[in-house]
Each structure stands twice: as C-alpha cells, then as structure tokens.
C-alpha cells in the first residue's frame, strides 16, 4: 500500500529465489518427495549449473521456476514477484524434447515469437519475413538448416534436442532454463554448442539455470555449480567457478579445471552413499 508509492529499490531483487521450497508428488503410500525444503537464490545474469544423481529433483526445480508446478510448501519468487506473475521472459529446453507433432521444426521453433511479447505484437505482420529469417539463422547455427520444413518425427534424437535448444533461445529470454540440453549429442557437436551458448550468454547476460550430468560442461559454462543429493533432493554444495569468462575449450584440460571437476566428483560420490 504505502510501499507502492516508494521509489523502487536500487538493487534489484534476485532473479530467482526459492525459500524452503518442497515438492511432494501424490499422497499416501505412493507419495514421492521430489524436493525437500530447499533454499536457492540466483542473481540476475548469473549462470548456475545444477548437477546431481538421476531422480534427485533437478527437473523439478526447473519446473518450479517456470511455474509449471506449484510447491507443496515454501515460496518461489522471480525478480521478487510471484512466479505466476510471468514478468520474466522464460526460455526452457525440456529434458525430453517435446516438439508439437503437427508443426514443422521451423514452426515449432517460431512458437515463442508467436506467444511472447514484444515479438507477439508484430507476429502477424512480420510472419513471412524477419522472424522466419531469425529462426533459420538459429537453426543453421545448430546444423539444422536443411530440416526447417521437416516434421519432428523425421529428425534424429540429437537433432530434436538441438531444435529444442533453438526454441528455448529464439525469443531472447531473460531467464534460460536448460534441462540437459546436450545429453544426446556427440562430444564435438556438444562442444560447439557450448561455445555458442557461452557467446550468447556473455552477449545478452540472461540468467541461466543449467541442469547437466557432465561436470566438464558445468565447469566450462557456469559461474556457479550446485550439487544435489540423491532423492529426496536438496542442495548440498554451492561453489563458484572462478575462471574468467569467456573460456576457451582448452580450459577443460587445465589442472585447475581438472581439480575442480575431481573435487565435485568426489563430493557426489560421497553423497551417493
């Protein structure tokens, strides 16, 4: 009430705040605790990698942040406001690339431009022109230039995953949620896309939350790495990656890097028991 007339605080609220957030699926005997009360903050422009054993609740956190599910307890704020407020432009790459089967790859990737402001506003007018070029350019960057007019089922697993990534990036999101976006790709394609993603990140500085199983991927890309325990998941370690950005792909062979990943490895190994 009174605060509404006060000037905005100078330091903006963190991009993501989870306050003692927990998620329990189902009830009774089959109830599954996907996330024990967890607290996590991410500043705007931060790049956080989330690692942890299978089934520990990583995707659940992403789904919470993107407001696809509501927490069983606790609170989630995006930029200081309720997640449902949808003030942030979210780009999400799902773990399982869910392309709409009735749309071609091009149309699938174009979807966010049709829904999200400010692109939406000029979507009808611009349809044939600029947006299409934009989509094609992005597809070309991930090596899918020739498949713009194919349907999802005509693509291989790795190709779908790349299209999925494009859909998360096409609308310049403020908040990028990536759930194992490179899992089905070979090492070389993967490294290429790491670099693409790093450039994009440094260029536009979105807030990025990346789920991955690849510690090198986490180390190469992120500024912070959070490790989660096995189910029921919670965050057991939160480390900054100090190496300066941009990083060269060669960095992963430096002793500093290897040491860091080894450290994480051991940590995870301990947690698993």
């Amino acid at each position: 009430m009174a605060s509404a007339t006060h000037p905005q605080p100078v330091h903006p609220r963190p991009a993501i705040e989870l306050h003692e957030t927990s998620v329990v699926f189902g009830s009774g005997e089959k109830a599954v605790t996907a996330l024990t009360p967890t607290t996590l903050r991410m500043d705007r422009g931060d790049f956080l990698a989330l690692v942890g054993p299978s089934g520990c609740g990583k995707s659940t956190i992403l789904r919470l942040v993107s407001n696809l599910i509501k927490p069983s307890s606790g609170q989630i704020l995006l930029g200081g406001r309720d997640a449902a407020a949808k003030e942030m432009r979210i780009g999400m790459a799902f773990q399982n690339p869910t392309m709409l089967p009735w749309l071609t790859i091009e149309k699938n990737v174009m979807l966010p431009l049709k829904i999200v402001e400010p692109f939406k506003r000029s979507f009808q007018r611009d349809k044939k022109g600029a947006y299409r070029d934009r989509v094609h350019a992005l597809l070309a960057q991930v090596g899918l230039k020739d498949f713009a007019n194919h349907f999802p089922w005509q693509l291989s697993g790795g190709m779908l995953q790349r299209a999925n990534l494009c859909r998360a990036l096409i609308h310049d999101p403020d908040l990028l949620l990536l759930d194992e976006p490179f899992g089905a790709l070979d090492q070389f394609t993967r490294e290429e896309l790491w670099q693409t993603l790093q450039e994009l990140y440094l260029d536009r500085k979105p807030t990025v939350l990346l789920v991955t199983h690849d510690l090198r991927e986490a180390g190469f890309l992120a500024r912070r790495i959070c490790v989660m325990s096995a189910r029921p998941g919670r965050i057991i370690s939160d480390k900054a990656v100090t190496m300066p950005q941009p990083r060269d792909i060669g960095v992963i062979y430096t002793p500093e890097f290897v040491e860091m990943t080894q450290g994480l490895r051991e940590l995870i190994a301990q947690v698993r028991k």
């Binding site: 993107s66 399982n96 869910t98 979807l111 949620l177």
Partner: protein
C-alpha cells in the same frame, strides 16, 4: 501409388459386389419389392424420377448443411467449454447427455409449433442432432491432451486461450474429424426427419409421400440419395482430415530403389 490404386480398385469392386449380392439374393429368395426392392429397380427409379427429385435434393442438402454448420460451431464451443472447465463439465454434460437420449422425433413437433413447418425446423433439427458427438469428441480430445505439450506453451507465459489455440485444438483435430463423420450423417438424419414430420419439400417429404403410396422403390431411391450425399460429404471431410491431421497418421515412407 500403385499400391493405392490396387486398394482403390479392390474397394470399389467389393462395394459393387455388395450391390450385386443384394440383387442376387433378392431374386433368389424372391423378396417382394414391397419389402426390399432390388438395386437395379432403385437405380431405374432414381434415373427416371431424377428431374422431379432434384429440387428436393437441393432443399435437403441446404437444410442439412446449414444445420450442420451451426451444429459444428455450437458443438465446438460447448466442447471447448466442457474440455477446459470442470464446472462446465459437471453442468453441461448431464444436460447434454439427457437431451441427446431423447429421440429427436419427439422434439421436431415442438419445433414445428414454434417455428412453423418447412425449412426452419429442418435446419434446427439437423443442428441439434449433430452437436452432441462433436461435443463429446472435442472435450475428450482436450481432456486427454498430453500435459507435456501444454507445458511448452505454459512456460512461455501463454494465456489459457493461447494454450487452447496452439496445443489443445490442433491436438484434438483427429477427434474432431472423427466426430464430423458421425455428425454429418446425423445431420442428414435430422433434416430428413423434420421433413417427414412437417414440410412440403425435401427428400424426407418425398419418402413420406412415396411410402404412403407404397412406392417402395421411390422410398429406397430417397435413401440412396441420402447415402450418396452422406458419402460425398464424408469424402470431403476425409480429404480435409488427411490435410489437417496428417501428422497424427504418419506412415513410414521409405523410398525403395
């Protein structure tokens, strides 16, 4: 392609076979043409009476298509409502099911008393009768839409309307087209029904007159016309369906060299 033509020929010959069997059975069993005329008799009647029948055909087609179009609009609207709102589901479904269990033949006289005899009740009957199958299929299609697909839109902050428009409805198309096939046949039934009860024109009226004059082969000619119109419209929707829902019935098209 070649395969396709083979199948088409086979289908056609089996359909022709059906009529041949009908003809032969009628002759062999000595079925009276009062009970079941032979296809050849029906064809002759159809041919000789066609000029007389033509305006009636147009009338029935007009009433059916108008009623059907209205029915589709209403059916889709209610279906979307029921498929997306649980209260609407709870209210509308029982009322609709109850209403649909009522034979339309009991409703037509009421319509006639309200709107007078002729085209209006025929259109309304054609409309009423085809709403329910569309509602059921649309709402089932929406209710069974994979949450994963909706999630794609939801993360983008899409409104309910946008989710419906971009995911719910496209995904429901196979259900929708299935219901259209049922609905169009029901629309014909509805229009004809109303014409039998009160109208001076239309195939229903022709059939009524014919049957009271014991012109059984003219009655069957009327039925044939209805069947042919039904099949023609079905073919049209099938064509549309193949365009629109091709994604759902994808085959494996591997080039063989």
């Amino acid at each position: 392609m070649n395969e396709n033509i083979k199948i088409r020929i086979m289908s056609l010959s089996l359909i022709v076979g059906f009529f041949v069997i009908w003809e032969v059975l009628c002759i062999m069993l000595g079925v009276s043409d009062l009970i079941l005329p032979r296809p050849s008799e029906i064809a002759v009647t159809l041919w000789t009476r066609f000029p007389v029948l033509w305006p009636h055909i147009l009338q029935t087609l007009y009433a059916t298509l108008t009623g059907f179009s209205l029915g589709v609009i209403i059916g889709v609207s209610i279906g979307v409502l029921i498929g997306t709102s649980r209260v609407a589901y709870g209210v509308a479904y029982p009322l609709l099911v109850g209403f649909s269990s009522i034979p339309k033949v009991a409703v037509v006289p009421i319509l006639v008393l309200w709107f007078g005899s002729g085209t209006t009740p025929a259109i309304l009957t054609a409309m009423i009768i085809c709403v329910f199958p569309i509602v059921v299929n649309i709402s089932t299609g929406l209710a069974t839409t994979e949450p994963d697909l909706e999630d794609v839109l939801k993360t983008l902050g899409a409104s309910k309307r946008e989710v419906l428009w971009n995911v719910g409805l496209p995904r429901t198309m196979p259900y929708f087209f299935a219901s259209l096939k049922v609905a169009i046949t029901l629309s014909f039934v509805g229009a004809v029904l109303s014409e039998t009860v009160a109208s001076n024109r239309g195939i229903g009226n022709v059939m009524m007159t014919a049957s009271s004059n014991f012109q059984v082969s003219l009655v069957f000619a009327g039925l044939f016309i209805l069947a042919i119109m039904g099949v023609a419209l079905y073919a049209f929707f099938s064509f549309l369906e193949a365009r629109v829902t091709g994604w759902a019935t994808r085959g494996k098209d591997i080039a063989v060299t």
